[in-house]
């Protein structure tokens, strides 16, 4: 009998340890990440109507705003980083489609979170074998975020019109992605949360992300649309836009 007990306990141990991805895992809960695309902290964005004046005195109207978010990670107050499963971590944020502005993430370990980080675009350094990049194709394609002459994603699509002071209205088109292996425009941002988020069983914590559209062309780099109104596979201006995206987002 002793022998049997011994055998049974070994088997029980194997049985329990072999399934460490279910019931006995750490407790988790859900969060909602809500994207609010705005001109600035004080001015909201309405596609096709809101006018703002950029630093080059051009009146800008946004008609389309889409961008790819990926590789979401959350940092706890004790420094623990939780990386959301990469294969489930690719999203298109589309200002025109309100349901795309809220991301529902589940399986977040409970705890107090002080920072959120994510990629803007698709990280090509692990291209494409990192889980999920290839299964993101239909979503990106439906949103028009896939180039069809190159095997790559548009990281941001920002289109509208601009009117220089005393000038006439013209369209602008900004599509930024990576340029083959030559130029990687993927950016990763780490945003401290203005207020600590408590992820607890039974409730869904909310992380609010604000994106200030005016920063896309006016941040580290200032883009004068009158000079460059068409930025697509532009080796000079695409990286300048990508750089600006690093300071476009804030979180609370």
């Amino acid at each position: 009998m002793k022998k049997l007990t011994y055998t049974l306990s070994i088997l029980t141990l194997i049985l329990v340890s072999s399934c460490n991805n279910d019931s006995n895992a750490i407790e988790t809960s859900a969060i909602e990440i809500i994207f609010d695309n705005r001109i600035s902290s004080s001015q909201d964005l309405d596609l096709g109507t809101t006018v703002y004046v950029n630093q080059n005195n051009e009146s800008v109207v946004t008609n389309e705003l889409k961008y790819i978010i990926s590789n979401i990670a959350l940092t706890q107050d004790n420094g623990t980083v939780f990386e959301y499963p990469k294969e489930d971590s690719y999203f298109v944020i589309n200002e025109e489609n309100s349901s795309s502005l809220t991301l529902n993430l589940t399986g977040i370990p409970i705890g107090n979170y002080t920072q959120i980080s994510f990629g803007i675009g698709v990280d090509q350094s692990k291209y494409p074998l990192d889980g999920g990049v290839m299964n993101f194709i239909p979503t990106a394609e439906d949103a028009g975020m896939l180039w069809n002459w190159a095997a790559g994603y548009k990281f941001i699509k920002f289109e509208g019109t601009f009117t220089p002071q005393g000038g006439t209205e013209s369209p602008f088109v900004i599509h930024v992605g990576s340029h083959g292996q030559n130029l990687d425009n993927y950016k990763f941002v780490m945003l401290p949360l203005a207020n600590t988020i408590n992820v607890a069983t039974g409730n869904t914590a909310v992380v609010n992300i604000e994106a200030y559209v005016q920063n896309i062309i006016d941040a580290t780099n200032q883009i004068k649309l009158e000079d460059t109104s068409d930025i697509q596979v532009d080796p000079v201006n695409a990286p300048r836009i990508a750089k600006n995206l690093e300071s476009t987002f804030s979180a609370e």
């Binding site: 340029h179 030559n182 596979v233």
Partner: protein
């Protein structure tokens, strides 16, 4: 030892406890003729190392077969007809025989000549301008391009899901059994990775196999090739995989800027990837737009047809200011003699890669 029911129960529990495959075996469903066994992939001894990460997507019998089916599957196109194999015909080393530029759905015309498909696992970038940086991603371009197959992945997935065979073929090929874009692309890669051409007369000579020798003319041609061509068509792949402007007159109809479309750099205008020359005898017509019909025309272009267009590769500019690669008529013929030793009939008639 006496049969012990406790141990039996625990062992049984152990086996059922970790089942997380999304698909149960469907008893009534007929299994296919192929097994999920790994396929042997050997790098030919005269070849450079593999570029493709074969560990990340190891070809299996079932994955390869699925890839083959998909390669010849018209449902990947909006008209349900124009499969990959429509423009990439095996007997011509998977090029579009007699077509200067490739045709797509509804008679649409592309602007470039379909490239041969072979030794892809050794290539670092794909298409004439390097628009795909990974083999797994390359098929996105022809599948979605409106001048080629003009289809969306969403539609392709739906069509395959509705098909009587594909759900089973995906289950047999991939652990998660799903019909999704990742598995479609991985299966196509498994098929394409196996497409290795390494059994030409030249290869056998180069590897000292079976007393294969080159004729005097072919040997002379090889020496001339090494002097005049091998700086770009380098190594056993016969390409250095760089992008260069080889002095073709700019065709105003397309004004194809080549590599610059990917990089955006004006210094890349009119540069195209140096093509590999394996099976070159059967991959006519030549050049990115198929403008040259024969190998004679190609060598004549390099001798006398080079145009001094923007970013012309310095290699074609001789010290005396003339353009092109000097060669006599006889040297041209010898080089072509050598190029024909790169034809690998084992490959172009290999049953594994054929549609039927």
């Amino acid at each position: 030892m006496k049969f012990n029911p406790y141990i039996f129960v625990f062992v049984a529990l152990f086996f059922v406890s970790c089942k997380n495959e999304p698909y149960e075996e469907i008893p009534g469903q007929e299994a296919g003729e192929f097994q999920s066994v790994p396929l042997d992939f050997t790098v030919p001894s005269n070849f450079p190392p593999l570029v493709y990460d074969i560990e990340a997507n190891p070809p299996t019998e079932t994955g390869f077969e699925l890839g083959r089916r998909l390669f010849y599957e018209g449902r990947l196109a909006s008209d349900n007809v124009v499969a990959c194999g429509f423009c990439h015909i095996q007997e011509f080393a998977f090029t579009h025989h007699t077509h200067i530029i490739s045709h797509g759905v509804d008679g649409a015309l592309g602007s470039r000549n379909a490239q041969p498909l072979h030794n892809l696992a050794f290539q670092n970038e794909f298409t004439w301008d390097g628009a795909a940086i990974h083999l797994d991603m390359q098929p996105i371009i022809p599948i979605t391009n409106e001048l080629e197959m003009n289809e969306t992945f969403t539609n392709v997935i739906a069509k395959l899901q509705a098909h009587p065979d594909y759900p089973r073929l995906f289950r047999e090929a991939f652990e998660n059994g799903e019909i999704n874009s990742e598995n479609i692309l991985k299966a196509l890669s498994q098929f394409m990775v196996m497409m290795v051409t390494s059994n030409s007369k030249y290869d056998k000579f180069s590897r000292n196999e079976g007393n294969v020798t080159l004729t005097v003319n072919e040997m002379q041609g090889m020496q001339l090739f090494n002097q005049k061509c091998a700086s770009c068509h380098a190594g056993e792949l016969f390409t250095d995989q760089s992008y260069r402007n080889n002095g073709l007159a700019i065709d105003p109809q397309y004004n194809d800027i080549g590599r610059a479309r990917v990089t955006g750099f004006t210094q890349d205008n009119y540069k195209f990837k140096v093509p590999n020359l394996r099976n070159i005898e059967v991959t006519f017509p030549y050049m990115h737009d198929g403008r040259l019909a024969t190998l004679e025309d190609v060598l004549e272009h390099y001798r006398s047809g080079i145009q001094n267009t923007v970013n012309l590769d310095p290699i074609f500019q001789q010290p005396d200011g003339s353009l092109g690669i000097p060669m006599t008529d006889e040297e041209k013929v010898r080089i072509i003699d050598f190029l024909k030793t790169l034809t690998d009939t084992d490959f172009i008639f290999d049953q594994r890669f054929s549609e039927f």
